[in-house]
Symmetry: C2
Subunit: 504 residues, 2 copies
């Protein structure tokens, strides 16, 4: 069994228990691990680190760098209080609490950018811990259900620990396409012209001498729970599908659309599900994460090819995909996140980007990350990589949250992740607003008309009208722009938008 999985004979002697292997990780180290939206993450070493902390009482912390969010591993490390610095994305409740207390130094960064920092020497990786399907004859590491930043970590780390996961079938080999841009100034173009282009190797090249330990494991990925579509998400999906139809009829999109990207979330999932029943065919996917809906589209015969950096599947779909991966091999590819999200490729292909907003404002600025300006939810993830470079950038959000106490359409977003310059279309369950080519005052009127919940329409119109009277290209009232958020913090409901707020 291990001979099939570890084809470089000399490396078989480096198989050891996780409790031994974790000793290579020292206090203060920069540790780069595999894992993206809970897929292909390392599992045994984080547990061993937590055991070490518990047993020895040793005070040690690591700086944890990943592809994106980890599964159970993140929670284990966070609960054991082992994370000092964290980058570039997370989604764990315990870690989030630490981040918002200021205990964990979290750097929320575009997913396509971190590899540049590592390659450019801004960020040194001491040790990489990578989940693998197999190790090739030449020491190459075959990833599992995600690629993320693993190739860059392996390239730059001084040492590598491999977690060989026996629960992933060996037939995963061949699914991945590992390509890393060269250092500047010697870099060339990324030769991807269609989503299916393969430009690299099916494994992560690795000097076998760097592999200091191999840990064998058979734990499956944590499953991804996606809220099922409700009436609102269904309606939003329908607006988007009607909009696609309109754009095709205007000659602005080809019949099979352009390659689709969709962030993790129930609306994106509903759009993809809606496509199953649509007239659109021969679709292509160029995204960072393949959710269940992508495989449902495959089943429905709607998709030609899908490119991503990771899966994010329910337990049921995961079992299906793992057992039938052979039938998908020539229909999909998993790439490093630097490539799946690369501005060069995203702009060239003309991706249609669909992502979820936390809140949007009168002029089309989008907040994807912060609750009332201060509290981090998860992170920007790849939304900026795609939004900034896509042919068509769509953000979706329900018009209200928390039983109506929060309006997702506000005068001024409390944090900006995507600026007015980068947002084309906004969608709520109230309607859809195509903002392209509109001046700010036109955008404001359209957003109030189409997107705002009835409970907040008068208040937002009132704000805009008074601001516009005062003048300006993008009319605002500085003393009031963030008052909806201040009110929410003070009385727990944005609907009470009038009154006095004490400002120091």
């Amino acid at each position: 069994m291990l001979e099939e999985r570890i084809r470089h004979a000399a490396l078989r002697s480096r198989v050891m228990l996780a409790d031994e292997a974790q000793r290579y990780i020292q206090n203060g180290m920069n540790v780069g691990v595999s894992g993206f939206t809970k897929c292909g993450d390392v599992k045994a070493i984080p547990k061993a680190l937590a055991r070490r902390a518990q047993r020895s009482g040793e005070a040690f912390k690591i700086n944890l760098f990943t592809g994106a969010s980890l599964g159970e591993a993140e929670s284990i490390l966070a609960k054991a209080n082992l994370i000092d610095r964290r980058m570039p994305y997370q989604g764990d409740p315990t870690l989030r609490a630490g981040i918002n207390k200021g205990d964990v130094r979290y750097v929320d960064q575009h997913l396509s950018h971190m590899a540049e920092w590592v390659r450019g020497g801004i960020l040194d990786i001491d040790i990489a811990v990578i989940e693998a399907t197999a190790i090739t004859e030449n020491g190459g590491i075959v990833p599992t259900t995600s690629v993320g930043n693993s190739a860059t970590f392996v390239q730059r780390a001084r040492q590598v620990i491999v977690e060989l996961n026996l629960s992933v079938p060996t037939s995963f080999e061949g699914l991945h396409d590992i390509y890393l841009p060269k250092d500047r100034p010697y870099r060339s173009w990324i030769p991807i012209q269609t989503v299916s282009d393969r430009i690299g190797t099916p494994y992560i090249p690795c000097d076998p001498e760097k592999i200091v330990a191999i840990v064998v494991n058979d734990e499956p990925d944590s499953d991804s729970k996606i809220q099922s579509a409700d009436g609102d998400t269904q309606r939003m999906a329908e607006y988007i599908l009607e909009f696609f139809d309109w754009e095709v009829r205007q000659g602005r999109l080809p019949d099979n659309l352009l390659p689709l990207q969709s962030g993790v979330g129930s609306v994106s999932n509903a759009v993809l599900s809606g496509l199953k029943r649509s007239r659109f065919e021969n679709l292509n996917i160029y995204t960072e994460v393949m959710q269940d809906a992508v495989f449902e589209l495959f089943e429905a015969g709607k998709v030609n090819y899908a490119s991503a950096s990771s899966f994010a599947l329910s337990e049921k779909m995961s079992r299906h995909v793992l057992s039938s991966i052979d039938s998908y091999r020539d229909k999909m590819v998993l790439r490093p996140q630097e490539i799946s999200n690369h501005p060069e490729v995203v702009r060239r292909l003309g991706v249609i980007a669909m992502n979820t907003a936390l809140e949007v404002d009168l002029y089309g600025n989008v907040n994807s990350t912060h609750v009332t300006g201060s509290k981090m939810m998860n992170g920007i993830g790849g939304s900026g990589d795609f939004a900034r470079n896509a042919a068509l950038t769509i953000f979706v959000t329900k018009s209200v949250a928390k039983d109506g106490r929060i309006s997702s359409v506000v005068p001024f977003v409390s944090h900006v992740d995507h600026t007015e310059h980068d947002v084309d279309v906004l969608v709520t369950e109230q309607g859809i607003a195509d903002l392209r080519g509109l001046a700010p005052r036109e955008r404001a009127r359209m957003i109030i008309e189409k997107l705002v919940h009835p409970d907040y329409k008068d208040a937002l119109l009132d704000y805009y009208t008074r601001a516009a009277r005062r003048g300006g290209h993008t009319p605002h009232l500085m003393e009031e722009a963030l008052s909806w958020h201040a009110r929410l913090e003070q009385v727990g409901d944005m609907r009470k938008t009038r009154g006095l707020v004490r400002v120091q």
Copy 2:
């Protein structure tokens, strides 16, 4: 004379006066004109349009699309009240007033993006008006001192008017490199690997049938006035040069740095001037605009090659460059702004981007465009194209403005053009802050320590301390975040930051 300039014989019959040619422009048309930072802009047709409005009293307006800012033409059209919609950048006082009153519908957009909207059918161009050095045998249009969006306008417009400018020497032919990406999904990579790569034609391809009029003119470009460096800008330039030196010694930049981009402004100019006296050699420039300092660097033998979309020169330097263009021909190229600013190329080359901020905040967000959130200054220009994709993104600003009444470092910027995710280094005359890899609370402490003017240090530290106590990843006090701006509007001085502001 005209035979040399109009080499397509049949087109010579289309030479006419501007007053005749302007009749092709009708009320409500989308007019795409040449011009970028006051260079290579159309000059005769705007004047003729203004004469028509004055003479006939006819109420007509056009939608004006350009490369970037125009020279005198912009002012003439604005004063005659002939502009309805305007995109993607401007810098004229009369037009600015119209924009801020809401009379002109201005769409402030990344300079590399507009061509995609035109190509993608989001924005139809009815007629293009392009300044030219010459027309080739096959109808190709040789631009003058800028390329901007001219090639895309010509490609998509139904009709083209050429303004032949005899003040530009015929030896300008060969300076330009015109390359346009194909429509999706047939697009390939942009094959630029070094700043000097030429990948297109030296003229804008044009079906001669589309050229409905040729107007002959000999008016020179308006000159660019750049404030000369004072002690503060000089100091900022020195910080940046020291930083470059440090990065080279850390092995993070090559000895000759990476290709430099600098926005128009006195600090960028001072940095380039500082490079004249530095140890750096064999520099390359990949930017949108070549200011005087680029030519001074050439004279000093410091620059190998410069790529841009336009000049922006003082009258004196303009005369020098126009008279000695032959000696620069193999050292520089003018490209379409879609290419000079293209994310694909900017990221591949690893450009060092230096641009000016209007204000920055505690966490590194940058406002480049709006005064107290509402009033447009000029526009985002290419700063986002470069900032978002550069290897190193630097923003500079003096720490205070208006004799100290305004702090350029504020709790919360009143408009976000560049998010915290996209800003690496900030510089004021107080110091330099390298924010890469830092969590928001670390950034805040560094920004307060290094960048803030002493008059505002205590107030900003006080804001941050109280916010951090309340908690959050990016600590803010929603009721107070924009109070510095509100105070400025109310009493004209941000130093009076305490007191009550009535919030409705």
